[in-house]
């Protein structure tokens, strides 16, 4: 009986030690995880049109041959998401399903325009390959220059009045959605929001 109790106590202690080590390790990892999942939004790089001001209107040529004005008040009262991409950019390709679902779900208030520049034939085969025929697809070096697009995929959000609501480098669906969030909260980007919150915390 005593032997059985002794053995049981020893085994129980070993189990308790293992468990408390695991609990400690878990608590540490929660800290690491928290740092990793801290809110991230579309990264804004370089200069370019200021968020909250009217974006310069640019006359662009669509792949279907028509021209249109990007910027300025929109004719149908919807906002415009311009998604800058390139056939040679792999990250752009991974974002296409997200762009497609956003275009479908938000179609009541949002028009999605794909923008790129370069040789026409390349883009035509890209559109055919990726079945992007439903999207207005514009080719304009001027548009990229105006909005200072230096890295892809990049996106800008223009409201119905042609005011730039948000802009930034988008690498994930979350980044893309952060543009809408940034627009709803009336800040240019999530980074800006975080910075202002951090400063508010510092003051308080």
């Amino acid at each position: 009986m005593t032997t059985a109790l002794l053995v049981s106590v020893v085994v129980l202690w070993i189990v308790v030690l293992v468990l408390s080590t695991v609990v400690f390790a878990l608590a540490r990892q929660i800290g690491v995880l928290y740092e990793r999942v801290a809110p991230a939004g579309a990264l804004v790089i370089g200069k370019g049109p200021v968020v909250g001001e009217e974006a310069p209107a640019v006359r662009v040529l669509r792949l279907d041959g028509a021209t249109e004005m990007l910027g300025g008040a929109s004719s149908d009262g919807r906002s415009t998401l311009v998604f800058f991409l390139s056939p040679t950019c792999p990250v752009c390709k991974t974002l296409l399903p997200a762009v497609r679902s956003i275009a479908r779900q938000e179609s009541s208030w949002l028009r999605v325009v794909l923008a790129s520049d370069g040789a026409r034939s390349e883009h035509e085969s890209f559109v055919a390959r990726e079945r992007l025929g439903d999207f207005p697809y514009v080719l304009s070096a001027q548009l990229g220059l105006t909005h200072q697009v230096s890295k892809l995929p990049f996106a800008i959000l223009l409201d119905a009045a042609g005011v730039l609501r948000a802009r930034g480098l988008v690498n994930t669906r979350e980044h893309l959605e952060s543009l809408f969030e940034a627009s709803e909260r009336g800040v240019g980007t999530i980074q800006e929001l975080l910075r202002s919150e951090r400063e508010r915390a510092k003051v308080a």
């Binding site: 106590v9 202690w13 468990l19 608590a27 929660i30 928290y34």
Partner: protein, 177 residues
């Protein structure tokens, strides 16, 4: 109280108070600022009070470690921990949940919360258990296992709880987001 249990309690309190004193000694200015943030000690006495707290912790650590007049050491440690609980409690009532508790050293910030008050009350109650006289008996190998494993698992759980308390506000922000 049984000798093995008393030893676990004593050693854990030595570790707790010793590390607390060490944290404060490593960053005396930081501790002074923490004390100032509590707004309990008038400005002119701040330096003296900070020094007194550190000295008290060091004295208690050595007293507990020496094992002499254990009941007195236990009572003194319990009183100190109750004082900490009261200081935190007062500031929690004032709604000042953003100041650092100063319990985890300069490396990690643990904001004040009622959980901290409860934690200090529990530790104070444990320290007060030392007032109960210890019945002496021979320590066998199984007692050695009980003592060492007990101290180790208590320390690990303490550190884990400390981390969770430090993370609590960040995690609740994340939950709201």
């Amino acid at each position: 109280m049984d000798a093995a249990a008393a030893t676990i309690l004593r050693a854990s309190l030595v570790l707790l108070l010793g590390s607390a004193a060490l944290h404060k000694l490593r960053d005396p200015l930081g501790f002074r600022l923490t004390l100032q943030a509590y707004e309990l000690v008038p400005q002119p006495f701040l330096i003296g009070a900070a020094g007194a707290v550190i000295l008290l912790e060091l004295v208690l650590t050595t007293w507990l470690a020496s094992g002499i007049a254990l009941a007195g050491a236990g009572a003194a440690a319990a009183a100190l921990l109750l004082a900490y609980a009261a200081a935190i409690g007062v500031n929690v009532r004032r709604g000042r949940l953003d100041i650092d508790c100063g319990c985890a050293g300069p490396a990690s910030r643990v904001p004040l919360s009622s959980a901290l008050v409860v934690r200090n009350l529990i530790v104070a109650a444990a320290a007060a258990l030392l007032i109960v006289p210890t019945n002496a008996r021979t320590i066998t190998w199984i007692d050695a296992l009980t003592i060492s494993a007990g101290i180790a698992s208590l320390s690990a759980s303490w550190l884990a709880a400390q981390r969770m308390l430090a993370l609590a506000p960040a995690l609740s922000r994340l939950r709201q987001a």
